[in-house]
Subunit: 183 residues, 2 copies
Amino acid sequence: MENINEILSLDSDENTRHFSKGDTLQREGENCSKAFFVKKGLLRSYTIDDKGKEHIFMFAPEGWVIADIESQEFNQPAKLFIDCVEESEVIILDRSLLIRSELNIDQLKNNVNLLSRRVAVLQRRVIMLMSASAKDRYELFLETYPKIPNRVPQRMIASYLGITPQALSTIRGEITRKNKTIL
Amino acid sequence: MENINEILSLDSDENTRHFSKGDTLQREGENCSKAFFVKKGLLRSYTIDDKGKEHIFMFAPEGWVIADIESQEFNQPAKLFIDCVEESEVIILDRSLLIRSELNIDQLKNNVNLLSRRVAVLQRRVIMLMSASAKDRYELFLETYPKIPNRVPQRMIASYLGITPQALSTIRGEITRKNKTIL
DNA sequence: CCTATGCATTCATGTAGATTAACAAATCAC
DNA sequence: GTGATTTGTTAATCTACATGAATGCATAGG
């Protein structure tokens, strides 16, 4: 849900808040009627499975919106944790932002496009998870999010890719070793 | 994208077409500006990877809409094949159906809700693919789509779950064996 | 009706990635 | 600055699932 300036303008006067690295904005089990626009910094959303293992669902750098749409849509308590990977400035939006009554036709169409884009990104992610090897997934991640890797610890990238930090480390080792032999 | 009666009413006069089991409505590489509303029957969308292996992205039974939103959104040729699992009646819709100019505010809000629902379903699928074992994924599939399993060959269910037909067969064997010992 | 092709199941073997553990480097707390 | 905790790397072992092949059934087409 990138480039959401349209919607944002409606809320820029509302409460912008400042958070430190590691602060949690939403916990599993809470009621979650909020969405978070990232003005500055980097947030992430993730689940923790029954074995206590984290699975990162998405990263949200500057200009992105992050929320637990599944739980909101089905009126369930939150399944996702949302917290800060970096010190961040966040505008807290209401869940209704996408269909609030003040919106005009053009703004609604814009929202339809934003959601279509989000569906498209998720479609790509599902197909990737089903058909690509760990190495391919890592390389696709680097292409898709060229600016994020150096801001995020390896273990979180591994978690986003659905593999262990050890496996990612091995893959990175292979890639740099291959590049050395080429150079 | 279930229960799309709102949108449908706009197009019910357009060309409804009849297809046989196995007929292909869209191929990889084609320009894909269409979406398909399933009036009767069952469609599926899938990719074929570089090793020639099918990966089913979704099933669309009666009342659902199916389309390659990713490719449409990024203006690329289709990544997905779409074909008929059963004999089907399909209304062919234009890609612009979600933001076409005749739509009023309520219809647009309805579209926002439909897309939110789709995002929610995909969120669930991504989390499942990342964190659940093959057996858990199969059981979740049975819960989520209780009506589909008996209409779809095992190998397609396996493909949807991201495992081989052999692995699914083993899992099914385990489940029925366990149920027998309980009874 | 009979043959051919596809489908589900089972088993034997292979492999990507998980798990466990050990260690060095970086970061944090005080 | 110093000890403690977190992070990234490497290596040895383990396991879930893939791959490949054989077999019995079903469905389709002549």
